[in-house]
Amino acid sequence: MVDHRGRRMRGNRVVVRSGCGRTLPAVALAMCSILLPLCGCRRDSTPSTPSVSLQAAVPPGDASPASVSTDTAWLEQQVVDLDGTTHRLFRATDRAALLVFFLQDCPIANAYAPRIERIHQSYGPRGIRCLLVQVDARATIDQLRKHAVAYGLTMPVMHDRQHELVKLAGATVSPQAVVIDATGRVRYSGRIDDQYVELGKKRPAATRHDLTDALESVLAGREVQPPTTRAVGCYLESDAH
């Protein structure tokens, strides 16, 4: 057993503050409204958005992953953490990004929290940018902040309230891992490992570690095989926000 109390302490560092909350400074608000059309800004009011890709990414009525994994979409993608700070998804040194889509009250996702944190701890230093993407539109920033501390999650946490990232990645389940390499290509999308076979049916322990295998492949410059797997967990409702 891992002693998680140590992690819990480290978890206090997690940045958790309103991404697009009401109390944001004007600059952040502006950034936010440009990059992620939250905050009640309508997308058509931001014609100068750099994300042509975003427009392409979310055609009305179509959120299939095939249409969203264009290189520019991911390369230009920006994300806002719980502190309200906007980041480019990719930093100069990142070799790949790992997004883990997560519903904070999904028991399967939560059961994976220690594994997700371990992956962050071991692959972060190897150039993998690990981000936890909270997708429950009804969750408050405070809830998400507390969640990260309770589960010892020390990676940056994003609140994808409007499911921008969900749509771009074509994520359907919590937890679902999506790995994007530095050229903006989605290299893996699916489960973390094979412990859960279906809802209510799990192995005593995982026998295949698909996500870490995928990360190893990406780091080694190999194609990921298989590039997609079926994630088992809580469904992300397309209109939940």
């Binding site: 057993m1 891992v2 998680h4 109390r5 819990r8 009250d105 999904c106 028991p107 996702a109 939560n110 059961a111 994976y112 929290a113 220690p114 594994r115 429950d136 009804r138 309770a150 589960y151 010892g152 076979v197 279906e198 809802l199 209510g200 049916k201 799990k202 192995r203 005593p204 322990a205 026998t207 809580c234 469904y235 409702e237 939940a240």
Partner: protein, 624 residues
């Protein structure tokens, strides 16, 4: 899990009854389940406006069947109390109801309706599917029925006695499921009749299911003391037994209930409560501390159901076999009502059937579980207990999947799995709770089923001895069953072998002494009891049997001392109470003698011999 030491010891069958803790999820306040027709009608009625709505169709189903657990403070992971709660999980709800993962209810309908069924009808499932697929319409929520009334405190009201684990158990953030048995002393000044027990874990999210058991001999305390953490590991709660054979199981959504009239059970001072909890790591460190409420009654029991087990201890499943079958049968020697039943297997269990074949050949399905899931085990009670005539054969048929296709298989790759109590072993038990329809039938069933149980113990002991000829417990069990089935002469060579194999076993010496006593070899028996006491001074039954020797020799004072010593160690040992009472009666101490017989009667309310003795004593006292 439902071991009964009195059965395995092969002495007498205990009074049995299940404290039926099944309660329908969603049926707070005893509301009746929605009938399928009713739902169909409502779905159709809503259909005119373009499909089912939350207000009219889906909300009532969710409130009735899901909300009891999916609410704050309960075990389920999220709330399902509002349109937004339900709509934001519509796809998931549609899937888990279609696969019948939720609400959790393993049996398919059989020949007799089960009480407190938590099963959605096909029509209800279709309604949810249609709603999720067709825009999750809200409808006019003015028409939504109110949420069922749900208690947040003790479901049965303020208990007469509350006991609590003395400290919390810390569950790690991840790892395999934990089966932990927590031993809680019950502070009791006098024996009480228990009509209900209610479990309240403070952290329900981690408790998947639980059983409430008792321990009379301090063994569980010793097991608990073995490590620094509270409780001790084990899926089968070694050393604990169901209280007087009453099954008290707990699952999220199952409500505590009182025993039906006349079916309370006796709790004696000195008894420990053993709370067995199946704990599932949640991803963060958790702590859990449970309390249990006891509800007493002054009404002694008047109905004495019994517990019968059909089981196989010969389970031996080769690696890779995906349809290993066990089948056991028992033909009832008398008419009974079947009150309920509990099936039990571990992770390889696949399907389960309990059948009744009537004397005329008609076959009935008492229970059929098409996809066993250890996580949702519990007890089942019939809405109306079926009456089965003498000559009815009860059948247990379980199948197991020890292939890699069974994802719950604890071994990767699969390995040969045999009968055993550990989670990586396998079991196959089907417990029936039956009520014989007459006292004579009850005696007949006790004798007939008792022989069967002893024979099972003998068979199992022989198998254990083939594995390890020096297994002294197995030798003693074989000797005990030989004593009961064939008489002392047959048991003596076996029990002498036990003493030979392990000279420092107090039990071996005691049972050899007991068999010698039954055989009339009083001197040799006395010597064996002295050897027993040299090893273990507080071996209670040795004091009792020495008292018997004195009683037979009419050494009343010495007999009295020995029985009193026996009762110091085990204050509610019925036979010691009875025999001490007899000694006092013989010494003309009628009042105390009668008191002791009455106490014995309280512990063993169906013992005819004891009852006769008590009547005689009372008559004698009146004539005085």
């Amino acid at each position: 899990m439902i071991r009964d030491k009195s059965v395995s010891a092969g002495f007498h069958l205990r009074v049995v009854f299940a404290l039926m803790v099944h309660f329908l999820s969603g049926c707070g306040g005893g509301r009746e389940a929605v009938e399928p027709e009713a739902v169909e009608t409502s779905a159709n009625a809503a259909g005119q406006g373009g499909g089912p709505t939350f207000a009219h169709d889906v909300g009532p189903i969710v409130f009735q069947h899901c909300a009891v657990c999916h609410r704050p403070g309960e075990g389920a992971p999220f709330e399902l109390l509002t349109y937004a709660d339900v709509a934001s999980r519509a796809t998931q709800i549609a899937e888990v109801t279609a696969t019948r993962y939720m609400p959790p209810w393993l049996p398919e309908p059989g020949s007799h309706r089960l009480a407190f069924e938590r099963r959605l009808t096909e029509a209800q499932i279709q309604t949810i599917q249609a709603w999720a697929a067709n825009g999750k319409l809200r409808g006019d929520e003015a028409g939504l029925p109110p949420l069922p009334e749900m208690t947040t405190g003790w479901q049965l009201g303020e208990p007469d006695l509350v006991v609590r684990m003395d400290r919390a158990f810390e569950l790690p953030a991840e790892g395999r499921d934990v089966y932990r048995n927590f031993v809680v002393p019950i502070p009791l000044e006098r024996p009480r009749w228990v009509s209900a027990m209610e479990l309240r874990p403070d952290n329900r999210r981690v408790v998947h299911h639980a059983f409430l058991l008792v321990s009379h001999d301090g063994m569980c305390r010793r097991l608990d003391a073995a490590d620094a953490e509270p409780g001790y590991e084990g899926m089968e709660a070694e050393g604990a037994e169901s209280p007087d054979g009453h099954f008290v199981s707990w699952q999220p959504g199952k409500m505590a209930t009182h025993a039906p009239d006349g079916m309370a059970w006796l709790l004696t001072p000195g008894t420990d409560l053993v709370v067995q909890m199946h704990l599932q790591p949640t991803g963060k460190p958790e702590s859990v501390q449970a309390e249990v409420g006891f509800y007493f009654t002054d009404q002694p029991p008047t109905r004495f159901p019994m517990k019968l087990a059909l089981r196989s201890t010969e389970i031996d499943i080769p690696a890779g076999v995906d349809n290993y079958t066990i089948e056991t049968r028992y033909t009832l020697p008398t008419e009974v009502r079947i009150i309920g039943l509990i099936p039990h297997a571990h992770y390889l269990g696949k399907t389960m059937e309990a059948l009744a074949i009537r004397p005329d050949g008609r076959e009935e399905v008492l229970l059929r579980i098409p996809a066993w899931d250890f996580n949702w085990q519990g007890d089942y009670r019939f809405a109306t207990p079926p009456l089965l005539p003498s000559g009815t054969t009860l059948v247990q048929r379980f199948t197991y999947d020890n292939s890699s296709a069974n994802v719950r298989n604890p071994h990767t790759p699969p390995q040969r799995v045999r009968y055993g109590l550990q989670s990586v072993d396998e079991m196959g038990e089907l417990w029936f709770q039956v009520e014989p329809t007459s006292p004579a039938g009850r005696a007949q069933l006790q004798a007939d089923y008792g022989r069967r149980a002893l024979q099972e113990i003998a068979d199992q002991s022989r198998r254990r001895l083939r594995e390890n000829p020096r297994d002294v417990k197995a030798i003693i069990d074989l000797g005990k069953s030989a004593l009961a089935l064939q008489g002392p002469a047959a048991s003596l060579p076996i029990l002498r072998q036990a003493v030979h194999v392990q000279a420092n076993s107090a039990s071996a010496h005691y049972y050899l002494g007991h068999a010698l006593l039954r055989n009339g070899d009083v001197t040799e028996a006395t010597a064996e009891f002295r050897r027993t006491q040299a090893i273990e001074p507080d071996y209670q039954m040795a004091w009792h049997d020495l008292g018997m020797i004195d009683l037979q020799a009419n050494r009343l004072k010495s007999a009295e001392n020995n029985f009193r010593r026996s009762l110091q160690i085990a204050p509610y040992h019925a036979t010691s109470l009875m025999n001490l009472g007899l000694v006092l009666l013989k010494q003309n101490q009628l009042t105390e003698g009668i008191q002791l017989l009455e106490q014995a009667m309280q512990v063993c309310p169906t013992d005819q011999r004891l009852n006769d003795l008590l009547q005689q004593a009372r008559q004698a006292a009146q004539q005085r």
